[in-house]
Amino acid sequence: MSEVKNILLVGVGGQGTILASKILTTGLMKAGYDVKMSEVHGMSQRGGSVSTQVRFGEKVYSPIVGKGSADVIVAFEKMEALRYLDYLKQGGKMVVNDFEINPLPVNVGAAEYPEGILEELSSKCDVLSFKAGEVAKELGNPKAMNVVLLGALVKALGGLDDIDWDAEVEANVKPKFAELNKKAFHAGYEL
């Protein structure tokens, strides 16, 4: 059995992990891979921690990424990277959006947002961190942050340059946002 690649996209409900994983999975399918993706809907969307799991290869059975098996983890929020650290494969890569969203216990003063997350992650594994919202803002709209992160993810995975990502981005966003998102993808890829 050829190797199956595992990807985790983690963040906070409403951050746009779903669009990024949709573009990714359709691109992979067209390139001839078997693809499975899993996400959980419902109550977790109300500001909770969310994860989208993508697996691809010649033949994929389970839709779920196991602990210690993610080739790449893309964290849309910094603390979520730390929460899912145990899913990273030995030698795997972390792509981290340097951005904080206070969870409810921090906001009401019952807990403190942990400090030094990026340093902690960097001391353990290969980390690429940047402010994706600001990259997107420079391109014209901070909301394209998710596609910037997607570009960085595709780069981190490697070996997926034959896929026409521009076409996939275009097919999955409104026409008026197509140019912006294509630029966002490339900006993320070049980081």
Binding site: T25, M37, V40, H41, G47, P63, G68, N102, L104, V108
Partner: protein
């Protein structure tokens, strides 16, 4: 054509291709997107949201009796609501093929319990299919209608969260039309007076025997022979985890049709392997059947009986292997879900929590976003058991406390959709039997938690047509609640909410408080815009010169739109919806409302 589809999208597509003509459901995670995906097939398949699962099942049963292929869909606990019709429909059998799609939630991602409804297929005697991925969800659903007709049995399509919400590649097909025959009454088949029902009970055994024979040699149950030292029997998504755990070093009996249980097929498979392993989520449904056949096997003695499975868990169960992982000593803060910024429930809960500091109040709650009112800092929901229960529990509690001489008041809280689901009956109980609870109906103009589905109070249908709207105050009055005991308020106006509570709470008779303001995440209709003109037109802003950094706003409202740091509180302009609850609770008048 190949497309990527979730299991729910694939079920909808399979129903269309299988010739369905009627579909009904009440939304519930993880099943909701099945019906949400039906309107795109609207010319061929009529689809609707029903007020509850029992109604959805009965409507689909009616369509089947009329001769049309039909289905209903629900989350696992919805099947309890729909149990009454389906247990007897199993006796009568079908005319048009009938499928009940039931989505279990192992691991309780978004549910109040974790029940294994495969047991209900056995108890009700329904032909059960268990797909393991999106392609099978599509294929099984498509074939289920003809199978139901052939066996004269309703089909229970049993899926789980990881089948519903996982996506995979699906090869699509064409629709197969099934004509609706001219109507002919079949009184002995469908009128289950005891004289008929006793005969139907006997013929049901004949139908089950025929279906069991079919199950032993059908496309739904598949043998994959590999190494014969280990034989794995599995069904649903557990097959995927088993396949990854044992690879080609085992043989598999992958079951897709699991009631009636294919005894002969199982016996035959087990005779060809040295050891039998059973991999299944939740209850030992397969394992018990295998053991009844006198076959030794390993299953729940190593595989967990609750929570969902995954490859890691199956690997640990059978090989005691644990993956190597990175670890950290840093503490990660939990991120529990919270009521959204601008949620119209917050104002109501704020006032209720304030009242509960001054007097003893029992707060019975229900199923919906507002269950989050139970969390700190509001702590204003004390129970959550099942749909509609808040009002009936509150009624029972109010009588019990009153008769025991306690001065605890009872407040019951549920949403508009939950009120229509089964809350109406509960309120009728309070009115009829002279309870004394305050019944609060949070009318946010939509079914919120499942992602904004229309309901009988919103004025629109699933297929996007305008519809009649339930008049909630008039309905409460018609049920028997006195007109002077029914109040409608804007929940964002705390004074208004408090005045209404002050008036209703002391009364020794059932009262109703209706809050009317739309869910902030809702796509507003023209009617909403006309009725609530300030929607999304204002935001709140903190005047940092006046702010004393006392944190009362964050600590009493728990609003996620208030960003709290040591030095100051600021309002997040991307999430504030201008509900003004923070402005009203600020002791220093430091928050202002600004028009956008």
């Amino acid at each position: 054509m190949k497309v990527i589809m979730s299991g729910n999208e694939a079920i909808a597509r399979g129903a269309y291709e299988g010739g369905a003509r009627f579909a009904s459901a009440y939304p519930g995670t993880p099943s909701t997107e099945i019906l949400e995906n039906m309107p795109q097939y609207g010319e061929a398949v009529y689809s609707e949201w029903a007020p509850n699962e029992k109604v959805a099942a009965e409507a689909a049963i009616g369509a089947s009796i009329a001769g049309a292929r039909s289905f209903c869909a629900m989350k696992h606990v919805g099947m309890n609501v729909a149990a009454d019709p389906i247990y007897t429909f199993a006796y009568t059998g079908v005319t048009g093929g009938f499928v009940m799609v039931v989505a279990d939630d192992p691991g309780q991602h978004s549910s109040q319990n974790e029940q294994d409804n495969r047991n209900q297929a056995k108890a009700a005697r329904l032909l059960m299919l268990e797909p393991s991925d999106s392609q099978e969800a599509h294929d099984f659903m498509k074939k289920a209608f003809a199978l139901s007709e052939k066996m004269d049995m309703p089909v229970l399509m049993h899926v789980t969260t990881r089948v519903c919400h996982s996506k995979g590649i699906v090869e699509l097909g064409e629709r197969e039309e099934a004509e609706v025959p001219d109507y002919e009454p079949k009184i002995q088949k469908y009128v289950t007076v005891p004289a008929n029902a006793k005969k139907l009970r006997a013929t049901l055994e004949t139908r089950i025997a025929a279906a069991r024979e079919f199950a032993c040699d059908c496309e739904f149950n598949r043998v994959e022979m590999g190494d014969t030292k280990i034989g794995v029997i599995t069904s649903g998504v557990s097959y995927q985890y088993a396949r990854e755990t044992f690879g080609d070093d085992a043989s598999y009996l992958k079951l897709g049709l699991t009631f009636p249980f294919p005894n002969k097929l199982v016996e035959d498979f087990c005779s060809k392997v040295d050891k039998v392993y059973i991999v299944e989520e939740m209850d030992p449904y397969i394992e018990e059947q295998v053991k009844i056949l006198g076959i030794e096997c390993t299953g729940k003695d190593v595989v967990p009986r609750f929570d969902e499975l995954n490859t890691d868990i199956v690997r640990k169960a059978f090989f005691n292997e644990v993956p190597e992982t990175y670890t950290t000593d840093k503490q990660v803060v939990a991120r529990p879900p919270a009521l959204c910024a601008g949620c119209p429930h917050r104002g109501l809960f704020y006032v209720l929590a304030k009242k509960a500091k001054k007097q003893s109040i029992m707060m019975t709650g229900d199923i919906g976003c507002y269950t989050l009112g139970s969390a700190a800092p509001l702590n204003a929901i004390h129970t959550c058991i099942c749909m509609g229960a808040s009002l009936s529990q509150g009624h029972g509690a109010s009588i019990a406390l009153r008769n025991a001489g306690k001065d605890t008041k009872v407040v019951s809280i549920l949403g508009d959709s939950t009120f229509f689901h089964t809350g109406v009956n509960s309120l009728m109980d309070a009115a009829y039997n002279k309870g004394s609870n305050l019944n609060i109906i949070l009318d946010n103009r939509i079914t919120g938690m499942t992602g904004h589905q229309q309901n009988p109070g919103t004025g629109f249908t699933l297929m996007g047509q305008e519809a009649s709207e339930v008049d909630i105050p008039a309905l409460c009055k018609a049920i028997g609640i006195k007109e002077e005991n029914i109040k409608v308020v804007n929940p964002n106006h705390l004074d208004e909410v408090e005045a209404a509570m002050d008036e209703l709470l002391p009364k020794d008779e059932p009262t109703v408080l209706i809050t009317r303001w739309p869910c902030v995440l809702k796509k507003f209709s023209q009617q909403d815009i006309d009725e609530f003109p300030t929607l999304h037109k204002t935001q709140c802003k903190i005047d940092q010169d006046k702010c004393k950094n006392c944190k009362v706003c964050v600590k009493t409202t728990g609003c996620p739109g208030l960003i709290n740091s040591k030095d100051q509180v600021v309002i997040d302009t991307t999430s504030c919806n201008g509900c003004t609850v923070c402005k009203q609770v600020c002791p220093f008048d430091a928050i202002e409302e600004v028009t956008l």
